[in-house]
């Protein structure tokens, strides 16, 4: 007996509907998109933040034949961080200020639509001082989400570029800015805030994906109502166990009202575990800058967080650098990976901090499992005590203890950190994390006359220089390289291999099933290395220094690799601002980094270009 075709279809689709659990469209949308390796649907490629692609058409054998397929100029100078989103036939790229968004048709390699937000110059210029970068877009619910420099979060129709809604996420007058990529989770858009140098108190905020209405906001410090920490249920790691937090842990380690300008901004990357419904991220350094002025641990600056995606309530929080004296911002990405530790498969998070330690924690409970230096020249702390979770600070390198009347020399890492915001990648095939790293140390010299907003005072100058030591042993070796590209085993906290790089690696890597890892260099090279050994297999010089992240996708059966080049940001600010003449006294303001990066200007000039690579042939 034949059933009519129509009713069969109907029946099966109803069954299909009934079989899927009720989850909101946005979430299933994003998750489903990330499951297809043809797309690159979130800034970090997937919710886990692994920046791993299952594509293997380009592999360690044939990558030597890679070649540029096409390129696109963004028309914007300044630093191009972040990377392209790829959803089906369309590539979405973004620029630093003025935050133009381009939707590019992969078939014709032409612009479908472009959108440039209107930002009030008076409002944005004071925040533009810092070479305002933008680290990318988010996609979900048929919309592209742009987090503008002036803190406005804007939803655009992904098909047409029409603005659907905008919401003011912060107040630029208070020094608030935004640089990070948002993340779509369930029916919400998650975003944070930057502006630590203006004393901004950091927060993570969730906005309704349909309307832009604020759903919740959790601060990095302040009373429990602000932090969304629930005493007696939210936990931290101390005394060798997962410990319930008491009342107002976000104010008790601050003097007086100082938590109100306490810093702890949230300008990094966010990841998400759909099963646990938890969002993971890190908070930045405490304000004010002068550590002596803010006695105490300054919680919860410099911390790793797990928050409930629906309510923002804190599941667990762990502070890496209590009472920061070195600017070791804790905002770097938190990668989710299931790994075997001590013979047991654990749901872990892995985080490589500015402070030079690679942390592995249980992502369900926040238990600290591993904390080891991923660059052995790191000397500000001897080790992290796993029981208390606290770093053991070496007094010789404490700027505060030395601050009275002597230079603090040779603190490693420099304030830029052993790793800055450039995200790592993780290959479940090799079980290694690939770290784009800095290899620098710094001196504090309390001699300089500073002048900020019309008041002179004696401040300290920070000078950065090459670490001059072996990344594997820490032994001084007179080396002058400023960067490393390192493979790491997060189950043991050991370096597997590490390549020297002339300059800091300021570009996020991507690892693929073809056993290749791609990253960019400050001189402007796109590089491919063997995922197992680190052997360099391919390089190509793009038009400018690369501080963007390398992403990969496929279109009509062909695998592509794409990256934004365009020097700027912190590493290239001297160049981005056109002042680094290469003379020893062309000092770069608010950086101190320039000495070490001075020779960079002979390699690269300004200008944003998106370059796409593929293998030859159809």
């Amino acid at each position: 007996m034949k059933k009519p075709l129509k009713s069969l279809l109907l029946a099966s689709s109803v069954a299909a509907l009934l079989a899927t659990p009720v989850i909101s469209s946005a979430n299933s949308g994003v998750e489903k998109l990330t499951k297809n390796p043809a797309n690159w649907a979130t800034a970090l490629g997937n919710y886990s933040g692994t920046r791993y692609s299952k594509l293997d058409q380009i592999n360690s054998k044939n990558v030597k034949n890679l070649q540029p397929a096409w390129s696109f100029s963004t028309g914007v100078l300044r630093g191009h961080e972040g990377g392209p989103l790829v959803i089906g036939d369309v590539i979405y790229i973004h620029t630093p200020f003025p935050n133009t968004v381009y939707a590019l048709d992969q078939a014709t390699r032409s612009v479908i639509w472009e959108y440039t937000p209107t930002m009030d110059a008076d409002v944005t210029i004071p925040v533009m001082c810092c070479d305002t970068v933008n680290r990318g877009l988010a996609y979900g619910d048929g919309k592209i989400f742009l987090q503008q420099s002036d803190t406005v979060l804007t939803a655009l129709d992904a098909k047409t570029g029409q603005r659907i809604w905008s919401v003011q996420n912060g107040d630029p007058k208070l020094g608030m800015t935004n640089t990070q990529a948002p993340l779509v989770v369930n029916d919400k858009v998650i975003t944070g805030i930057a502006g630590g140098e203006f004393g901004v108190r950091g927060f993570l905020a969730a906005y309704d994906i349909k309307t832009g209405e604020l759903s919740w906001k959790g601060y990095s410090m302040g009373p429990d109502g602000d932090t969304l920490i629930k005493p007696g249920s939210s936990t931290t790691w101390e005394n060798g166990k997962v410990t319930k937090l008491g009342k107002n842990s976000g104010t008790s380690s601050w003097e007086g009202d100082q938590w109100k300008i306490g810093g702890g901004t949230t300008w990094g990357w966010y990841s998400y575990d759909p099963d646990l419904n938890l969002i993971y991220y890190g908070s930045g350094n405490p304000s004010t800058w002068n550590p002596v002025q803010r006695p105490g641990d300054n919680k919860w600056s410099m911390s790793l967080w797990a928050r409930d995606a629906d309510t923002g309530e804190v599941k667990w929080v762990y502070q890496m650098t209590p009472h920061d004296e070195w600017d070791f911002d804790g905002i770097n990405e938190v990668v989710l990976a299931d790994q075997k530790i001590g013979g047991k498969t654990r749901k872990t998070v892995v985080h490589f901090d500015r402070n030079g330690f690679g942390y592995t924690l249980d992502r369900v409970t926040g238990e600290l499992l591993v904390a080891e230096k991923f660059d052995k020249t790191v000397n500000w702390a001897s080790h992290v005590d796993l029981k208390s979770g606290r770093p053991q600070v070496v007094s010789e390198f404490s700027t505060e203890q030395n601050g009275e009347d002597e230079n603090t020399e040779g603190v490693c890492p420099a304030a830029l950190g052993s790793k800055n915001q450039q995200p790592v990648s993780y290959s479940p095939k090799t079980k290694m994390f690939y770290i784009s790293a800095n290899h620098l140390c710094m001196d504090y010299e309390p001699f300089e006359v500073s002048y900020t907003a019309g008041q002179p005072y004696v401040g300290a100058t920070l000078t950065m220089m090459p670490a001059g030591g072996d990344v594997l042993t820490g032994k001084k070796d007179g080396s002058t390289n400023l960067g490393q590209f390192t493979a790491w085993d997060a189950t043991t906290g050991k370096i597997v291999w590490s390549n020297k790089e002339t300059f800091s690696v300021w570009s996020g890597s991507v690892a693929t099933a073809g056993d290749v890892v791609f990253y960019g260099t400050l001189e402007g090279y796109l590089k491919a290395v063997d995922a197992k050994t680190g052997k360099e297999l391919y390089k190509f010089k793009t038009p400018s220094g690369i501080i963007g992240n390398v992403n990969t996708w496929s279109y009509k059966g062909k695998q592509y690799v794409g990256v934004l080049s365009g020097i700027g940001g912190w590493a290239g600010i001297g160049i981005a601002a056109g002042l680094d003449s290469g003379e020893s006294d062309s000092n770069s303001e608010g950086l101190g980094a320039v000495g070490a990066y001075r020779s960079l200007s002979s390699f690269t000039k300004l200008g944003g270009v998106f370059t796409v690579f593929s293998l030859p042939g159809k």
Binding site: Q293, D405, T452, A453, V458, A460, S588
Partner: protein
């Protein structure tokens, strides 16, 4: 983005001694003589190009004098220094200089935050070799983002106390260190995120009484002296340790409302600073020209500053610990 300048609380004795080094004070008029002085007061940079001949220098100086514009980098809203209305004292001094050169003042406006020097004095106009502006009218002597001229005034931080709030008997700042505890608890004093005032509070055990403020604001409609004036008026604070010219601005707004007590520099805490003008490193003839104008107009400059209630101290002879190109 994080920022790499950190306030140090205490100044090493060594740094103070370099500031107090001697400088020759003979009268100089000609560019050659000024140049000779330059050579005395700056150390040769090992990689510096050979010094150009005096004749070439004179020519370069004449060329500067022949320019049409006197191009200043300035904050559009930073009273008492500069405003877009050009009613700050740095505006007035720029006018004075330009007038003598037969030039017109031209401004490149940019808020004085992080990146001010980078985005003004050292920034080229798009697609050209010309810089956006050539001189910053006020930078501290020994500032290292720019080359600095001779100092043209010297001022100090002061303790500014609102009268009639129970603090009228304070005659020296040190009295705040020995208040009865109950009295100390009622103290509300501004505390900036950086600067010597906060260091002093910390040394005096008064951090708990500090009401925190940011030195730098992201607000283009506000600046530090405006903000502190409002906070004092609102009673959120009763006193503040503030850089002299800013205190002068507040006093000018509301005469007879405040008591002004100068802060005393100690070996490990510096409250008084010399102010100079900033030019690009290597822009040597401009520095020579500005130094000529400063020495010629010192009295007129003092007059302007006095009008703006800037607390003035004698300019100490100071040797710049700077190379000049």
């Amino acid at each position: 983005m994080s920022f790499a300048k950190k306030t140090k609380l205490l100044l090493p004795a060594l740094a103070l001694s370099t500031l107090a080094a001697c400088q020759t004070t003979e009268k100089v008029n000609t560019p050659e003589q000024l140049n000779a002085l330059e050579k005395i007061s700056t150390t040769e940079h090992p990689s510096a190009p050979p010094k150009s001949s005096a004749a070439k220098d004179i020519k370069a100086l004449e060329k500067l004098k022949a320019e049409k514009k006197f191009r200043v980098c300035a904050d559009p809203l930073n009273p008492p220094y500069s405003t877009k209305k050009q009613d700050g004292y740095e505006n007035k001094i720029a006018e004075l200089f330009a007038k003598q050169l037969g030039q017109e003042v031209e401004y490149y406006w940019f808020p004085q935050r992080i990146g001010f020097v980078r985005n003004t004095l050292k920034s080229k106009i798009d697609n050209s070799e010309q810089y956006k502006c050539d001189v910053i009218m006020g930078v501290p002597a020994g500032f290292d983002f720019t080359a600095t001229t001779n100092s043209y005034y010297h001022s100090t931080y002061v303790l500014l106390i609102a009268k009639g709030r129970g603090w009228d008997n304070i005659t020296i700042p040190e009295q705040l260190r020995s208040l009865p505890l109950a009295k100390q608890d009622s103290l509300k004093i501004a505390m900036f995120d950086r600067g010597p005032g906060t260091a002093w509070l910390q040394n005096s055990g008064l951090l708990e009484q500090g009401v925190p403020y940011q030195t730098m604001t992201g607000d283009h409609e506000n600046n530090t002296s405006m903000m502190i004036a409002k906070e004092l008026q609102a009673g959120n604070i009763d006193m503040v340790i503030l850089w002299g010219p800013m205190a002068g601005h507040i006093i000018a707004q509301q005469p007879d409302t405040y008591k002004v007590l100068p802060m005393k520099s100690a070996l490990n805490m510096k409250f008084d600073y010399s102010m100079a003008m900033g030019v690009r490193y290597g822009d040597k003839q401009r520095k020579v020209l500005l130094n000529q104008l400063i020495s010629k107009n010192q009295l007129a400059i003092n007059k302007i500053l006095t009008k703006y209630h800037v607390p003035l101290l004698p300019i100490p002879a100071a040797k710049k610990h700077q190379d000049d190109d």
